[in-house]
Structures are given as C-alpha cells and as structure tokens.
C-alpha cells in the first residue's frame, strides 16, 4: 500500500521523480484536486519512496528493506502523518474534525531535530483544509524554512480553503480524475459491479466510485423513491424521517446532483451527461412540470444547507424543508 500509485498519477510521479533525481525536490508540496483521485495514497507512496533505502526502478519504495517495514508498521521515526482529529474531550458522536495547533507544534519540534534514520524527514498533512487558523499560522514558519532534506506534503481537495500564506509556500501539484475509459478499466479490475453508474455518480472520481457498494445503492434508492414520489402521485414528505439516516457525504450532495440533472433536462431535449442516467424517464417527467427559476432557487437552498452542515440542526426538519420545496418545483 505504501509503494503503489494509480495508473493515472504517472505524470505527477515522473515529474517528482525527475526533481528528486536532479536534487531539486521542493521542501513543501501541495497535492490538490478532486476528492477520490488517490492523492493521499500518492503522498504516502512518495514518502515511502523518499525513506526507502533501495528504491526499485520506477522510483517507488521496495517494500522489503527495514525502512519500508517501519513505514508499513507506522513506526518510522522520520515520517509524521497528521490527520484531522476530534477535540480532546469531545463526547459528541459526530465531532467536528480539525488539525489543531498542538499537533502542528509537536510536528514543529519534531522537524527541529535531526532525522533519526539519517535520511529524509517527511511530514504528510492530510485534509489540510481542516487546519484551524492558529495551526496554519504556526505551520508557516516551518513550511517556509524547514531544515535540509525535509519534505512537507499538504493534501487537500479544497485548496482554496487553505490560507493563501500557506498555499504560496508550497509547490502545487494538481491531480485530475482519469479519463472515463481508464477509470472504468480500473474499477473493473477492482471488481466493482455497475461501474459505469458508480463512476457517473462519483463525478468521475474512481476512488469515490469504488466505495459505492450495495449499501450505498440502497441509500440511493431510498432517496430516489422520495424524490420521485410526485411522479407516482404521492407526497415526498413522508420519506423525510427515513432520509435522516443517509450518510454525511451522501444525502445532500446527491440531492444537488438530482437538481443539476433537472436543469440539464430543462435546457435541451437530450439532456447530455445526466448523473442519474438510470432515472432519465422519471426525471424528464419531473422536469416537464418544474419551473427553471424555482429549480435554481432550490439549488441555492441545497447549497446553503450543505454549508450549514457543521451546525447542529434537526435533520428531520431539514429534510422536510427541502422536500416541501422539491415538491413545489
């Protein structure tokens, strides 16, 4: 796991390998791009490669040497990985995750000492957009001027949420979703059923699509039942309570996709590139009676609701509110 990259990341890999061979590797990297394109795996592989004693031909870690063993066991002394954590004494079931200043300070004092294994020192900050402001500020000094043979890798799918001061200190490397054919081939090799539908729903991000298993599709059916209630002459409101159980990264994001599909259908008989291609007919029925201005107003409403996600709102009321608006499109 620590020495593979995805086939669509080859260009970025070669670029960094080239820099490393020329001894011009920057001290800070910002890996950014849509969610689900394998940036974190790439960061780990890059770290593994820098720490490995005998990299193989394409520059990736061998996975055999003592350094690679330590990386795999998560005990390598010169590799730090920071991930967002809940507040220290939080009892909430869904705590807000952040990268806090204590973690950054600890990283700072670690990077202030020489490397234990006498090689590279690597720090990976995953989901770097979750850095709290103070932590980001505390990081700046280290980010600007780490010691020799140090690499700090920030990984994020929302680079604009990072403070500009942090962004400007890193060399940015963009990761795109692979082409459809490549993504489908990879999903096929992972044994994903209904790969095309899943990839559609994931907006082309293969790693997101790979997570779309049966449970996900059941959830989606629940949402589609609710949204298409009108076409069966029912009210969607009765589904509100069931919808509260939808996962955090689903639910509202999918609703946004459905609304987007309505807009697409409104703007041309064909409606190219529907996300929910399999519900085309029902969507067409809905689109016919809906009003474009109201669809856009609804789109805004969903966006607003997504932004409020961190706030503790009664989920059932939230869904009822959305469904009433949906029925009145």
């Amino acid at each position: 796991m620590n020495n593979m990259i995805y086939s669509w990341q080859k260009q970025q890999w070669d670029q960094l390998l080239h820099m490393q061979q020329a001894k011009r590797l920057p001290h800070a990297l910002l890996l950014y791009g849509p969610q689900g394109t394998g940036k974190r795996v790439f960061a780990r592989s890059l770290a593994g490669s820098l720490l490995c004693q005998q990299t193989v031909e394409d520059g990736s870690a061998c996975g055999q040497c003592s350094q690679c063993r330590l990386v795999a066991a998560g005990t390598h002394p010169d590799l730090s990985v920071l991930v967002p954590t809940p507040p220290k004494d939080s009892r909430s079931k869904k705590p807000v995750l952040h990268i806090r200043i204590d973690a950054i300070r600890e990283l700072g004092s670690k990077l202030a000492t020489t490397s234990q294994m006498q090689g590279y020192r690597v720090a990976i900050i995953e989901t770097a957009d979750r850095l709290v402001m103070q932590a980001a500020n505390a990081l700046l000094k280290r980010l600007e001027e780490p010691g020799a043979d140090t690499l700090i890798i920030l990984v994020t799918s929302n680079p604009h949420r990072l403070p500009i001061t942090a962004r400007s200190r890193c060399q940015s490397i963009r990761f795109n979703s692979p082409g459809k054919a490549e993504a489908l081939a990879w999903l096929g090799s992972q044994g994903i059923k209904k790969a095309e539908l899943a990839l559609n729903l994931a907006h082309g991000a293969p790693l997101v699509a790979a997570r779309y298993e049966d449970e996900y599709l059941q959830n989606r059916e629940l949402l589609s039942n609710a949204l298409l209630a009108a076409t069966r002459g029912e009210s969607s409101l009765s589904y509100a309570q069931k919808l509260t159980g939808l996962p955090k990264d689903g639910g509202l994001a999918w609703l946004l996709d459905w609304t987007g599909d309505l807009v697409r259908l409104k703007h041309g008989e064909q409606g190219e590139g529907l996300v929910n291609e399999d519900f085309r007919e029902s969507l067409q029925k809905l689109a016919k009676k809906a009003d474009v201005t109201r669809i856009f107003a609804f789109y805004d409403l969903v966006c607003r609701t997504i932004r409020q996600e961190g706030i503790a709102l009664n989920p059932q009321l939230l869904w009822e509110n959305l469904l009433i608006s949906w029925d009145n499109l």
């Binding site: 005990t75 002394p77 990077l111 202030a112 000492t113 234990q116």
Partner: protein
Amino acid sequence: MKFKIQRDELLNALQQIIGAVEKRQTMPALSNVLIKATSDSLSLTSTDLEIELVTHLKMMIDEPGEITVPARKLLDICKALPADSDVNISIKGEKALVQSGRSRFSLVTLPAADFPSLDEINVGSEFELPQKTLKDIIDKTSFAMAQQDVRYYLNGLMLEISAKILRAVATDGHRLAYCEKETDCELSDIKQVIVPRKGVLELVRLLDNTEEKIKVILGSNHLRVELDNIRFTSKLIDGRFPDYNRVIPDDGQCIMTADREILRQALVRASILSNEKYRGIRLILEDNLVKLQAQNPDQEEADVEIEVNYKGESLEIGFNVNYMIEALNVTDSSMVQAAFRDSNSSCLLTFPELKDCKYVVMPMRL
C-alpha cells in the same frame, strides 16, 4: 527465542532503559522494549524517537531471536517477582511467555522489525573522557537551557569539541551558562552539536561521578555516548546556536568579590519578597558593601546587606534573582567574582577557584 535470566539482573537492565519509553504512547510500538538475543548476549532497547537507550548483558542464550514486549508491564512483573528468582522468557506463537517459579505471564508482542531501532550512525568525531567530566560539564550548564522556546535551537545544550577542549553552553536568552573541560581528544577542526533538552536530562541520569572512561560520538544527526553496559543515543537539534563569544562580556570595570555561600543566602532571603512573576531584585554596590532590595506588588520590602570586596563607583542594577541563585547553586567554590560595566549591561559571574565556567546574567529594568 528462549533464555533464562536472574530477576535482579533483568530488573536492573529494564530500569536503566525505562526512561526512554514513551509515556504518551502515540505509537503502540514505542511503549514496547525490543529484546534481542544472540548466542552469547542479550540486549534491551527502548526509544521515544528522540532518544534511544540500549543495554547489553553478556549471558548464555538457549535460542536466539528478537521480539518486542510492553516495557512497563515487563518491568512491573519483574518488580513483583521475589528477589533471587530466575526468569524464563520464551516466545510462543504471537505471545511472549514470562515464567518464574510457579508464576506464568503471557504478554502481547509486536514484531521486532516494526521497532524503530537505530544501529549505525554516521560518525563525525569520536573521543573518550572520564564519566565525571561529562557529568560535571552538563550539571554546570544544563539549568540554563530554554524550555519550549520558539527559538527551538535554544531548547538544548550546545556541545562543542575542538582540539583538547570540550565546551558546553546553554542559554535561554536571559542568562547563559558556559563551561569548558580539557580532554585528550585530538581533533583538528571544531565540531558543534545541540543536544535536545530531553536528551540532556536523560543522559545526566545515566552518568556517575567516576573516573571511568566513556566514549562520546558526535555524528551528523546524533550524539552517542557509550557507557560500560549501556548505550545512549539522542537526536540533535537542527539549527545554529547563537555565537556565545559575543554574549560573554569582557569589559566589566566594576569587579566585586564575595563569599559565594553568603551571597547566595542573602539573595535567597531577599528573593522572598520579590515579585513572584518577574523575580526582580535590586543590587546596590557601594564600597565593600552590597545592598539587596526587593519589593513585591503588596508593597512589602526586603533589604539585605552583606559585606563584600568592592572598590569603585557605586552602581545600581536589577536582576532576576532566580538566575543569580541558580548560577551560584551549581558550584561548590568558596568565592565568586562578579564583573559589571554599568546598570544596563550584563553581569559576568566567575569563580576564582574554577577557571572553567562562566555565567552571564542579563540585567532587568525595575
């Protein structure tokens, strides 16, 4: 792996290395101790990723091997076993079996390859010196190290080795401690390292006041000290230590000599009524007399006078009393000499009987 060891021997070895076992336990492997058994020796290793301690025992091993087991639990078991008993340690499947008399314990293990132990280090320079020399030089300077300063290079002790001289310097920006010792090391160039605070405190715990020679290795990334049966390795601070020579004043015109113990006691007395946060104290020098004045926010005042050896203009200067007391605490010399220039310049404390150490204390505006 299988071997038999005396309980006291094992307990002793574990107690020597337990200091490096991580208390916060961010990584499970770090709360473990690495046990390595080769055909004729046993070694125990502990690390917190900043310092590493390895202890060696010469003994017969039934079956060589290596494994890591929870350090504190093993230590607690050893402590609880009766003295003079024998302990058998072996591996069975995923567990380590500890057996002594009719007590049996089975401990969880982690593979030895997952343990971040450090074998070879890049050797920069290497020299030998008596244990007590190193202990002395650290004792005389380490109190002045900064604690969690943002200037990370101050959070440690600077060790510098040049031809025949080993220097240690510590400073927190308000005071500085300097000490030098002669060694028989033949080095042509100067080599400087900064040892992190934690490493210094752990190292001094291992050292004794004996003439026994120890080996010190300064690597590019590590300091390693090899004692009789224990090996200490610490990472270094990756930074540049400030130029201490420019901090030590050499132009103090007003020179006062006093009995160290009398001056120290006077400072301690006066400090009782100094401000608890800033610890400010006023020192007034007159002919053969020092007046110490302290005042706290409750308007309580202390006034202490002692006789000293001083000829010259009278001078008034403020100090953090703790810095003075700490500098006077570390030696047992009978006399102390303080050199002042004016009330805005730092003061240099030296000891006529000890040529090797100097302390600089910055003044304080009161």
